[in-house]
């Protein structure tokens, strides 16, 4: 059985609240309690599914992976691609806390490439590309 620390439950809760808050601020959509529970179930299930086979104890949640992988669940649930905007802003807020940032035109470029996913694949990034973009920026040694 997969195990997580109590701390990871706390961090997961904070990230989910951060995403929900930014959806309300940016899109003026307030998720209902049942929507957020449904989305949380999907996100957690997806996030931890691949770890199950390794029987590992998850000691650290990756905030960028969690957000990027949430994007498809949220777009499906809300049936609105614009929900990717608060996800990207959430990830960028995290990146700025790590003293790294993108300029707005570059963020818009990332967004355009994400929107091309499953449409114009040669100019597209999906959820994993989105994750790697922010994760790479976060991991740069300066």
């Amino acid at each position: 059985m997969i195990q997580v620390h109590k701390r990871e439950v706390k961090v997961t809760t904070w990230i989910l609240n951060e995403i929900a808050q930014n959806i309300e601020i940016i899109l003026n959509i307030k998720l209902t309690p049942s929507q957020i529970k449904k989305i949380t179930l999907k996100i957690i299930s997806h996030y931890y599914k691949h770890k199950k086979e390794y029987q590992i104890c998850v000691s650290d949640i990756d905030p960028y992976k969690f957000c990027a992988w949430s994007s498809e669940c949220l777009i499906d649930e809300l049936n609105d691609k614009k929900v990717i905007v608060p996800i990207i802003v959430t990830m960028h807020n995290f990146l700025k806390k790590e003293k790294r940032k993108f300029e707005i035109p570059y963020l818009q470029y990332i967004l355009k490439m994400y929107l091309n996913d499953k449409k114009v694949d040669e100019f597209a990034i999906g959820k994993n590309g989105l994750y790697m973009t922010f994760s790479s920026a976060s991991n740069i040694k300066i």
Binding site: V4, V9, I25, D62, F94
Partner: protein, 69 residues
Amino acid sequence: MYITEKEVETIFNELDIKIVDNECNEHSNHIHSAVFEYLEDKYTQNNTNLEETKKEGEALLKVFDDTSS
């Protein structure tokens, strides 16, 4: 708060993911500690600045206007 820690805990339980109190053996490098510190500060002290979030969101939403026009 949109969802509480207790509600998230219930979802972990529903998914048969065990929550443990003790430290596990896997080495943890905490590479994103600045993010976690920010979240902890925000959700324990309610310390927040949303103006920049709003501005960035507006700038990115323009992309949808550009692509639909």
